[in-house]
Subunit: 395 residues, 2 copies
C-alpha cells in the first residue's frame, strides 16, 4: 500500500474570464451547482429534466422533441451528431475555416464517412459559392457540416443561407453552435437546421461539461433508417433517448446531476433576460470594446460583416510578444484572454465577451489592463483614451 | 421568435442516497464545486490537475503515468478503454454476470472486435474456471474484460486471480471498477491490472459526471502499436493525453472545471481518511445493515464470499410490492434505494452504502424506514428489532 498524499483543498483564484470560454459563471449558477445531489431517476429530477428541455428549446428557437444536453463537453455534442447521422460510406461535405471545422472533418473520417473538404481562409466566413459548387460536384452528398461561430477565428457564417443551399441539393446540415448559442441570432426551426450542438460554457455562462443538442425530423428519420449500428454506445441516440424521453426515463448512464442544476439555472437566467435583449447587449459591448481597441491602435482579424460580437480576434501587431501580453493580463490583472489556435497561434489573441462576461465593467477593465500591458512592451498608448472611446460608443 | 418560458430556479429535495449511486455528496465537495470557474488552461488549474493525478494514483494504488479523470460519466470511461485497446478483429473475452458486463460486450461489438462471451448467473461472481477454459479455447484472445463489483447485482469478482489467469494466457485485462474504487481493496499495480475505469459518484462520493481511468505499460504499448485510428475523436488517448500531460497541456477539449474541483476535494477527503480506514468502515456498516435486514426477515442475493459491502442486493420476498417499497422509502422517508436492473428488475432492491452514505446514522435510518414501510404491506416486523441487531453488530 502506498501512503496517502497530503494535498489540501483547491482554492482557485478569482479571474475575469475574457477568453474564448469558459465565460464568467454567475453566482446564482455556482450556488445551484452546490445544491444537494439527488438520484438520476428521482421523480423531482425528472421534472427538472422536462424544464431543461423547454428552456433549451427556447434558446435554440425550436420545437424539436429531441432537444437535450449531452452529459459531456461540446466535443461530445459534435461527435454525437456525426456518429448518429453519418454511416460508413456516406459522403459529407465539411466547411473548414478554422480549428473546429477541421475537427468536424476528423469526425467524418473516424465515422468512416467519405469526406469532401471545402476550405476557406481562417478569419473568413464560409463561402456559400464554394459550398454550392461542392454540392453540385457531389450530388450524392448526404450532409453539409459547418461552424456557425468559429471559436478559433471569431468569424460568423450564414447558417440560414448555407442551410437553404444544402436543402436545395438534398443534403442535411450539421451546425456547430458552440460559440453562437445565446450570443447571436440562431433560429433553428425558422432556418430549418437539421442537427445542432453547443456547449454550456460560452453564451450560456454555465461551467463547462455539458453539450446542448437538437435534432429535427429529417435528422431523426435518417438515424432511424440506419443500416449499421451507431459506433458509440454512449452517444447512440436510440439509447440516450430512453432516458430523456418524458414517458420512459429508462436508465442509460448516470447523468451529471449538479452540473445539470447549473445549466438549468443558467437557462432560467437567459429566459429572464430574453434572447433579443442578450443579443443586443453583446452587440453594444462589442462595439464599445472595438472602439477601445482601435483607440489603442489594434485591429480585428475579421472583416466587419462577419465579426462575432462575443469573440474578438485581435491581430498581434509587429513587435509585441503575444504570450507576454496574455501572461501579464492574467498575472498582473487577473484577466484571462485567449491565445490563437492552430494556424493563428501567435498571430492573434482572442477576447471573449460571452455570457456574464459581456458587461461594460469588464470591457473597461480589459481596456485599462491592455493599455497598461502594452505600455510595458513599449507600445505607444495614451492613458485613458481606450476607455474614453468605449464610453463614447455606449453613449 | 418564441416567448421565453417562465421557469423558476430548481430546488432539489434533500434525500439520503442509499441506492447504487450517486452516493451522498459531502458539503465540502458541494462547496468546492461552487468556487469561481477558471480557464482550462490557467496555470493554477494545471497545478490542480497534477494534484488530481497524484490523488487518483493513490486511490487506484498505482504509479501509472496515464491516470486521469475522463471528462464524462463512467460509461465513457468504459468506452474509452474499449475504443483505445480494441482494434477491429481483435478477439476479446468478456465476462458477463450482470448489466455492466453486458455493456462491455456491447462495446466490443461496436468497436468491431470479435466477442467471446463468458456468462455467469446474475448475483454470482465471475467463475475463474470458465475464464481459463475460454482462454484455452481462444489462445488468440487479446483482452479479457470483467467487472470488479457488478453494480446490478452486488457481486464481487476476484480481480487478482482473473488478471493472473489472463496474463498467463497472454491477454491484457480491462477492469470495470465503477462501484469498487474506494470501497473494497483494489491494488492496480500489485495485481497487474492493465486498464481500469471508475466513476466519481460512488465510493468517491463526488457528483456524477467524471470517470477516473488508469492505463498500465502493456496497455499503452498496445495503443501505440495500433494499425487503425481510434474511432472516437473525444476518447482518443493520443489526443487527450496532450492535455493531461504535465509538460504539454495542449488544448483538446474544455474540461468540466467545477466538476473537477469537486472530484479533487472528494479525493482529498479519501486521502485524509485513508483507503484502509474507508474499507474497514464499509465492512462495519455493511455487517450492521445485514444484521438489521436479517432481523427484518430479509436475505441478500449474493453468497457471503462474494458480497460487496457497499452494495447490498436484497431479495424481494413473496407478497411484497417492490416498486411500492421504493416509492414509500423515497416519498415518506426521503431515502433513495435502487431497483433491480435487467433480469433482476422487480426481484431485488439495492441498498448502497457508498462514500459518505456509509454511516451508522444512515444504516439506522434505513432500517427504521424499511421496518415501517414493510409493516404497511403487512410484513410482520417487530418494532426496533432491526436497529437493535445493527447496534449489536457494531458493538
Amino acid at each position: 500500500m502506498s501512503n496517502a498524499p497530503r494535498i489540501s483543498s483547491f482554492q482557485p483564484p478569482k479571474r475575469i474570464l475574457l477568453g474564448p470560454g469558459p465565460s464568467d459563471v454567475h453566482q446564482r449558477v455556482l450556488e445551484a451547482m452546490a445544491r444537494p445531489t439527488v438520484g438520476h431517476l428521482d421523480p423531482r429530477f425528472s421534472e427538472m429534466m422536462d424544464e431543461m428541455k423547454t428552456l433549451l428549446r427556447y434558446a435554440f428557437q425550436t420545437e424539436n422533441a429531441l432537444t437535450f444536453p449531452v452529459s459531456a463537453p461540446g466535443s461530445v455534442g459534435m461527435e454525437s451528431c456525426f456518429v448518429n447521422l453519418v454511416e460508413p460510406g456516406d459522403k459529407v461535405i465539411v466547411c473548414a475555416n478554422g480549428v473546429f471545422g477541421r475537427r468536424m472533418a476528423e469526425n467524418v473520417k473516424r465515422t468512416r464517412g467519405e469526406l469532401v473538404l471545402v476550405e476557406d481562409a481562417w478569419g473568413k466566413p464560409v463561402d456559400p459559392h464554394k459550398v454550392e459548387d461542392a454540392l453540385k460536384a457531389h450530388p450524392d452528398a448526404k450532409i453539409l457540416a459547418f461552424v456557425h461561430a468559429e471559436t478559433s477565428t471569431g468569424a460568423q457564417s450564414d447558417v440560414k443561407l448555407l442551410t437553404e443551399i444544402a436543402h436545395r441539393h438534398g443534403a442535411l446540415v450539421i451546425v456547430d453552435a458552440v460559440t453562437s448559442l445565446g450570443c447571436v441570432p440562431l433560429l433553428v426551426d425558422e432556418w430549418g437546421v437539421d442537427a445542432i450542438y453547443s456547449g454550456s460554457q460560452k453564451g450560456l455562462s454555465c461551467t463547462p461539461g455539458l453539450s446542448p443538442v437538437s435534432f429535427g425530423e429529417r435528422a431523426v428519420a435518417k438515424i432511424k433508417a440506419r443500416q449499421t449500428p451507431v459506433q458509440s454506445w454512449f452517444m447512440d441516440l436510440n439509447l440516450v433517448l430512453g432516458y430523456w424521453d418524458d414517458a420512459k426515463r429508462t436508465y442509460h448512464h448516470t447523468s451529471p446531476i449538479n452540473a445539470l442544476y447549473g445549466l438549468h439555472e443558467a437557462l432560467v437566467m437567459l429566459a429572464e433576460e430574453g434572447l433579443e435583449a442578450a443579443w443586443a447587449r453583446y452587440r453594444r459591448n462589442h462595439l464599445a470594446l472595438l472602439a477601445g481597441l482601435q483607440a489603442l491602435g489594434l485591429e480585428l482579424l475579421v472583416e466587419e460583416s462577419a465579426r462575432l460580437p462575443q469573440l474578438n480576434a485581435v491581430v498581434v501587431p509587429e513587435g509585441l510578444s503575444e504570450p507576454q501580453v496574455r501572461a501579464d493580463m492574467l498575472n498582473l490583472h487577473g484577466i484571462e484572454i485567449g491565445a490563437g489556435l492552430g494556424d493563428l497561434a501567435g498571430k492573434i489573441f482572442r477576447i471573449g465577451l460571452m455570457g456574464n462576461s459581456s458587461t461594460p465593467a469588464n470591457v473597461k477593465a480589459c481596456l485599462t489592463a491592455l493599455e497598461s500591458v502594452l505600455a510595458t512592451q513599449g507600445w505607444k498608448v495614451e492613458p485613458g483614451k481606450a476607455v474614453a472611446a468605449a464610453e463614447r460608443a455606449w453613449a
